[in-house]
């Protein structure tokens, strides 16, 4: 079979630094090639080069040959949809560019991407994240592209959605499209890819058939990457401890819609409570009620038996220090105008009156692998994974009794993720961990709470919930995770 994609010695340089350095690969129709690697290793840059694009300030050289049309599913699908256009109009516009009956073309593309046709009357903001992703996929599929480039299609999706996306891509490939997959999610790679190219700092570390590379890695880097991947295992039961943080009948709403209904939970000292659920089920809202960022909730949050003021403004320094939060989106939780170090150190200054906050901050940053050179840059100079770690240190400097972590592993490669999980496991405080990744949950959690559309549908020890799930959502989440791990394409 002749390759439809042929890349030879691709280089991308920005400001004297090589972002991509001598990448070569080829891909035939109906096959899947995965580019894997840590955050910042050059995946997106390579993917854009296939489209003949590059970020401003980046110079690209080398040979890129693509036969036929190429479709692209970008890393953030929400940003790729025009907020003021209904979906239908844009689809008709795209269809008009191709030969054939427009209605037919759109219908086919929607069917292939599993987008219900009645979504066409909506605006992008009226869709869930997963739906947005599928809509963008459908847009790329109109008129049968020869090649599809999908950039991190599963990042930040819950296991059920993630599995759906994998299924969709699989069926697209089955129809003869060549797929270039840019991801750090090895489960997805196993599920979809025929070949894997492992990138590290822009260089190809290892390449070959998926089974060869992932199951019998030759390079130490690849081996480490694969080894660090957590698996969903059913943990054994640990004895319950005296509750530190208690939630009683927490009910929260965003304007008129109730997003949390009568949720009661507890976490003991040194325990880890995992909160899982599909996207939009209310996990972040729950976290914000606990840390005082959603002061209008009903019910009560208690720390060591004493009710915590609902609003951050009413909390004393000690109370502030005792409950800390790591935001879901690390980049937006930093002030872009100040260095990361100075921002991280402020916690120690304000909440503990530390005399040498900077030294303390530097030490803890170093412990999570961030050196001084990195920390003294502004947030824009750090990768997503680095910022996530900095945000964690910022919270930990308060020496909290309760730490609430919202999706802190989603943007990370397996190696970085593993080191972070080790750090969390060693924490003496109570941890509330919000995660889509049940493998992470299984690794850390003592107790698991499952939220579904604002209701607490399951709550118990990790062994019970993960081992003997009773609610269909839990079963769904868990089942899909297992599937993702075990299913392999042949």
């Amino acid at each position: 079979m002749t390759p439809v994609v042929h890349v030879e010695n691709l280089r991308a340089v920005a400001g004297g630094r090589a972002l991509v350095d001598g990448v070569s690969f080829a891909l035939s129709a109906g096959r899947v090639l995965a580019l894997v690697g840590a955050s910042g290793s050059g995946k997106t840059t390579t993917g854009l080069a296939l489209l003949g694009e590059h970020a401003p300030g980046v110079a690209v050289s080398g040979r890129v040959a693509v036969t036929g049309r190429i479709g692209f599913v970008p890393q953030q699908p929400a940003a790729a949809l025009n907020p003021v256009r209904r979906l239908g109009g844009v689809f008709r516009e795209i269809a008009a560019l191709h030969r054939g009956d427009p209605a037919e073309l759109v219908a086919t593309a929607l069917r292939r991407a599993r987008v219900p046709a009645d979504l066409l009357r909506r605006y992008p903001h009226e869709l869930s994240g997963g739906q947005q992703q599928r809509v963008v996929l459908a847009q790329s599929l109109v008129g049968d592209p020869a090649v599809l480039v999908a950039d991190e299609p599963t990042t930040g999706q819950d296991p059920i959605t993630r599995a759906e996306v994998v299924d969709e891509l699989a069926s697209v490939v089955a129809q003869g499209v060549a797929l270039v997959l840019l991801t750090h999610d090895l489960d997805v790679v196993r599920a979809l890819a025929d070949e894997v190219v492992v990138l590290r700092s822009g260089r190809v570390v290892e390449a070959g058939a998926t089974a060869d590379v992932l199951d019998r890695p030759r390079e130490p880097y690849t081996r480490a990457l694969v080894a660090a991947q957590p698996r969903v295992t059913v943990p054994g039961d640990r004895p319950a401890r005296r509750p530190r943080l208690e939630l009683h009948g927490v009910t929260a709403r965003h304007r008129a819609t109730t997003v949390l209904r009568d949720v009661s939970l507890q976490v003991g000292a040194g325990e880890c409570l995992a909160v899982v659920g599909r996207s939009g089920s209310g996990k972040t809202t729950l976290a914000r009620c606990v840390v005082g960022l959603h002061p209008t909730f009903g019910g009560e949050v208690r720390l060591d038996g004493r009710p915590l003021p609902r609003s951050l403004r009413k909390r004393s320094r000690a109370e502030l220090a005792s409950v800390q939060y790591v935001f879901q989106d690390p980049r937006s939780s930093f002030d872009p105008h100040r260095t990361v170090l100075s921002q991280v150190a402020r916690t120690a200054v304000r909440l503990r009156g530390s005399a040498d906050a900077t030294a303390e901050a530097l030490a803890e940053l170093a412990a999570v692998g961030l050196d001084e050179a990195t920390a003294t840059r502004r947030p824009a100079g750090l990768s997503g994974g680095e910022l996530q770690r900095a945000a964690l240190v910022r919270a930990l400097l308060a020496r909290p009794d309760v730490l609430v972590c919202d999706e802190i592993t989603s943007g990370l490669d397996t190696l970085t993720q593993a080191s972070l999980l080790d750090l969390l496991a060693a924490l003496p405080c109570a941890v509330v961990l919000i995660s889509h990744d049940l493998a992470v949950v299984a690794r850390l959690a003592d107790r698991v709470a499952v939220l579904h559309r604002g209701d607490l549908v399951e709550h118990g020890s990790a062994g019970d919930v993960l081992g003997l799930p009773t609610h269909p959502v839990t079963i769904g989440l868990l089942g899909r995770s297992m599937e993702g791990t075990e299913e392999k394409r042949t």
Binding site: E53, G71, P83, V84, L97
Partner: protein, 314 residues
């Protein structure tokens, strides 16, 4: 919130606003030095005569009493009669509304395409010569008061070159469209500048956005990208500005009306304030406030359509 419920709620707030506006205007007019009798007496301010005029106008009744009966009339759709001429206020408003509406509507009809065109052209050539020249001109024009621009245009095109009639004196605006050219140019100069700058800024942002980049990848043509994808995003702030311009236009383009002799609402307003003709000022305030409320409502509804996201969040 549904569009209709939103509109109904806004209208209810609007009614309260109108009431508040007329109250404020009443208080302000009461606070003006002198009253209608003094103004009418003019350079013959014999106190006895002023007293007689005051009695004839009913100004000797307490202010609250007069305001009360005016409000009572308003509730019955009656705007009262002019203190000075005794003609019904409605007749004044109808007289002035025609010319002002002709000017305002024509200005609006021209304003939107003109400023969009200018803004888009400047944005597509961002940083280029065309962009810099339009920027300098729009900023310069934006700071020139209408009267100064009008003086120059009249002197040049009306008097010196004789290409266009220098005023609209005694003319029927619709029958002799030539008289409208200069007033419209003067009227449009400032709003076109401000709105085209907004469109330009919005367009530049939109052209650099991810969704436009994505649309390009999908192979959509350059023209469609510019006008169907980028432009709608650039229009939302411009629509708000257009709404405010409408208010300005309907609020009587006093200067333009005076310089070009268009007997519209602006002229009536100035005269009525000078004559302290309270019912007429009040009637105008009602018209202005109602228009402002409606125009802003329409702008918000259009904004709802143009930026569905922001309204949903707000």
């Amino acid at each position: 919130m549904s569009l209709r419920r939103y509109a109904v709620r806004r209208l209810a707030i609007g009614a309260v606003q109108v009431l508040a506006v007329v109250t404020v205007v009443f208080l302000l007019v009461q606070a003006l030095p002198g009253d209608a009798a003094v103004a009418l007496a003019g350079d013959n301010p014999d106190p006895r005569r002023i007293g007689e005029i005051r009695a004839a106008m009913g100004l000797d009744r307490p202010a609250l009493d007069r305001f009360g009966s005016w409000l009572w009339g308003l509730a019955h759709g009656d705007l009262g009669v002019s203190l000075v001429s005794g003609r019904p206020v409605v007749a004044f408003l109808l007289d002035g509304l025609g010319p002002t509406l002709v000017l305002a509507v024509l200005a609006l009809v021209l304003l939107v395409p003109l400023s969009v065109l200018l803004g888009v052209v400047a944005a597509l050539r961002e940083g280029g010569v065309v962009d810099r020249i339009t920027t300098a001109i729009t900023v310069g024009l934006h700071s020139i008061p209408e009267f100064a621009l009008a003086v120059v245009l009249i002197a040049l095109f009306g008097v010196h070159l004789r290409w266009l009639p220098p005023t609209a004196v005694g003319a029927d605006l619709l029958a002799q469209p030539a008289v409208l050219v200069l007033p419209l140019v003067v009227l449009l100069a400032r709003p076109v500048c401000s709105i085209s700058r907004l469109v330009r800024a919005g367009m530049i942002d939109a052209l650099a956005s991810d969704h436009v980049r994505h649309a390009r990848r999908l192979g959509i043509g350059a023209q469609r990208i510019r006008f169907a994808h980028a432009l709608p995003n650039a229009l939302a702030p411009a629509v708000q500005q257009v709404a405010r311009t409408t208010d300005w236009l309907l609020g009587g383009v006093i200067v333009v009306e005076a310089v070009f002799v268009v007997p519209g609402l602006g002229t009536i307003l100035v005269d009525a304030v000078a004559a302290r003709d309270l019912p007429v000022v009040q009637g105008l305030a009602v018209v202005f406030a109602v228009t402002t409320v409606l125009v802003n409502l329409v702008a918000d509804l259009i904004g709802f359509r143009l930026a569905p996201r922001s309204v949903a969040i707000a």
